[in-house]
């Protein structure tokens, strides 16, 4: 889906990023946005019809919130779920994205609801109320991120900004990947919680690591193909990963210090080499625009590690 317009859009994105969220800009995008409606989106939750540019969006997914703000539709968001902690000015509320309550959502009088999981009948119930509900499930690969950004662009009247963002993300990621060529593959362990739940290379996050030439030690452990096995401590110590990435620094207060203090873990190369990387749990678990930041962080640590070793 690479477009010829990439350099041009990249420029637009850079200019846009420079402007930030200044209020006059909102007005111009409002004018530009009205053109694309009504719009019909074909998503995993079925067809969603949006008759006019939404101005009261409820986002029940932290990733969707990040995406909406990144494509400059943030001003149209009236409420975001309780985990939408980024960006800072997202209108975080008590709404639960895990157990969405239709009445509570409808109470915000939304003209578009964006959600990432639906344990009950949120989508159909909202549609019955005449509220378009767009399902954006957890991304399985990077292309899902791009697709969802573009869907949100169409749904909110920010098609141009969405395309520009996708283009700039593609370009940034390409640049990061190209700049970090490992001479030999390094192994890593990505920790989701301190009970050693991890993600394999088949998961969204695992594919990002793979792009940088990293090898996942958990792949052998995933016989049922869930993508998120729980490892034995013995196995992690034996596998001796070059890097340990902690995606449980916020939830479970893990750090390079706590990892080094675990029984037997002093034997692990990553611990000895100071290559235990403390990630931001949120950035490492969302499939939004900040995957670029994530890749940049990881690439920087890779460079540092390679420099130390040589």
């Amino acid at each position: 889906m690479r477009r010829i317009l990439v350099p041009l859009l990249l420029l637009v994105a850079l200019v846009g990023a420079g402007c930030g969220r200044s209020s006059p800009e909102r007005d111009t995008t409002t004018q530009a946005g009205q053109a694309g409606f009504p719009v019909t989106l074909d998503g995993p939750g079925g067809k969603v019809e949006i008759s006019q540019r939404p101005g009261r969006i409820v986002s029940l997914s932290p990733t969707a919130t990040e995406m909406l703000f990144a494509i400059k539709a943030g001003a149209q968001v009236v409420a975001a779920d309780s985990f939408s902690n980024y960006p800072k000015d997202a209108p975080k509320t008590d709404l639960s994205g895990h157990e969405p309550n239709v009445e509570a959502v409808a109470g915000y009088n939304p003209d578009l609801v964006v959600y990432s999981n639906d344990p009950g009948d949120l989508g159909p119930a909202l549609r019955k109320l005449g509220v378009p509900a767009l399902l954006l499930p957890a991304g399985k690969r990077l292309d899902d991120t791009y697709t969802q950004l573009q869907q949100l662009g169409q749904a909110t009247g920010h098609t141009t900004e969405a395309q520009a963002l996708v283009a700039s993300m593609r370009a940034d990621i390409q640049q990061i990947v190209a700049a970090s060529k490992l001479e030999r593959p390094l192994t890593y362990y990505h920790e989701l919680d301190k009970n050693l739940f991890t993600a394999t290379s088949q998961t969204f996050i695992g594919q990002l690591y793979a792009q940088l030439g990293l090898q996942n030690i958990a792949d052998k452990a995933d016989k049922d193909g869930s993508g998120y096995p729980q490892l034995s401590a013995e196995y992690v110590v034996k596998a001796d990963p070059d890097l340990v990435f902690l995606a449980d620094t916020k939830c479970c207060a893990q750090s390079a210090t706590t990892v080094a203090a675990r029984p037997g873990w002093r034997q692990v190369r990553a611990v000895r080499d100071g290559a235990v990387v403390e990630l931001d749990d949120d950035v490492a678990s969302r499939w939004g625009p900040r995957v670029v930041d994530f890749l940049r962080t990881v690439a920087a640590r890779l460079d540092a590690l390679v420099a130390v070793r040589s």
Partner: protein, 367 residues
């Protein structure tokens, strides 16, 4: 002396028969044989669990490494540093902890069944599980950052929660006017429901804690270390000692409160002491390993089916075979999907329940 109040003496007085005729009690020779067999089972299970794991360690090296630590034996270290660390810091503490937790849960289960004269009683009957669950959930959801503490907030909160659960059930049962077991059990049910409701509420409020709480409920020995062993050893030791010392009185309670009273046994007091000991031990076990279900029911009943129902034999056998059972269950948990882990609660239920059914079918004796 307490010994005098044995049912054996009772039968002797009434029927003029020889003493060792307590219900279901085997002759002394057989009893010694069973105890020796149980000891061998435990040793075999522990050895197997030390030798087998997700990482292949050379058995010769492991044996040499273990023997080298014995006093007066110098055979040199049998393993390279990394393998030695895996053995000493990861595998061995896990086996020991599994043994302690299994012994404690089986023993507490037997004690509860004896005290409440209810075959379905388990160590979690009086709200220990629900209390520990609430404590653990609170610690996971709101626990402070305690990376510098020697003991994390989770075991402390789970331990405190279990104690609070049992104490409130006991207090409620007493306030309910009953010194009988029925009111206590009902109080346990009420406390359990209430604490579970609070726990569910907290979980709903703090949905990001769901997976960790869930993982804890299924039980875990995954991250066991020597510090966990040190943490629960005193509780397990004291609580086991108390229950073992009361094993004869449990036999007396089996005939009913009034009959026990007529033998000079104060049933309510014995009950309080045994329940306190069993609950304290259960709380300690739950604090480090989460809720490992079924051990407290399956092990004592299987032992009763095989060895008779006298607590003089059931209690020590529970101690030995409970340890062996959980060590083996944990061995399965960490090897069957290796190098991935299965929650141990799944194993104890999955293998324990059918095994129990088989024992029940093949035995002509009723518990």
């Amino acid at each position: 002396m307490r010994r005098r109040y044995l049912p054996g003496l009772l039968t002797e007085q009434r029927e003029g028969r020889a003493p060792p005729a307590a219900p279901g009690l085997r002759p002394p020779g057989l009893r010694a044989g069973l105890l020796v067999a149980a000891c061998l089972c435990l040793v075999a299970a522990a050895l197997l669990a030390v030798l087998v794991g997700p990482v292949r360690l050379p058995p010769g090296g492991v044996v040499a490494e273990l023997a080298d630590r014995l006093p007066l034996v110098r055979v040199g270290s049998g393993l390279p540093d990394r393998e030695a660390a895996i053995l000493w810091q990861l595998r061995l503490p896990r086996v020991v902890l599994g043994g302690l937790v299994g012994a404690m849960l089986a023993l507490a289960g037997a004690a509860y069944q004896g005290v409440f004269r209810n075959p379905l009683a388990d160590p979690y009957l009086l709200g220990a599980a629900a209390g520990a669950g609430l404590g653990a959930t609170l610690a996971i959801a709101y626990g402070p950052d305690t990376s510098s503490w020697p003991v994390g907030p989770l075991p402390l909160a789970a331990f405190a929660g279990a104690i609070v659960g049992v104490v409130s059930a006991y207090a409620l049962g007493r306030a309910g006017g009953g010194r009988t077991t029925a009111t206590l059990v009902l109080a346990g049910v009420a406390v359990t429901s209430f604490l579970t409701a609070v726990q569910t509420y907290v979980q709903q409020r703090e949905a990001e804690t769901l997976r960790e709480v869930y993982g804890w409920i299924l039980g875990r020995l995954t991250t066991a270390g020597w510090n966990d062993v040190v943490l629960i050893l005193p509780y397990v030791a004291v609580s086991s000692a108390v229950i073992v010392a009361h094993r004869r009185l449990l036999d007396v309670l089996a005939v009913g409160d009034d009959e026990a009273g007529s033998l000079g046994v104060r049933a309510a007091r014995v009950r309080l002491v045994v329940v306190a000991a069993a609950s304290l031990g259960t709380a300690a076990a739950v604090a480090v390993s989460g809720l490992i279900a079924f051990v407290g029911i399956i092990v004592p009943h299987t032992i009763r089916l095989l060895a008779g129902s006298s607590y003089r034999l059931v209690v020590p056998l529970c101690l030995l075979l409970g340890a062996a059972f959980l060590i083996l269950a944990d061995l399965v948990a960490r090897t069957v999907m290796a190098p991935a882990e299965l929650p141990i609660g799944v194993i104890t239920a999955f293998f324990g329940a059918p095994f129990f059914a088989v024992v029940l079918r093949t035995s002509r004796r009723t518990p």
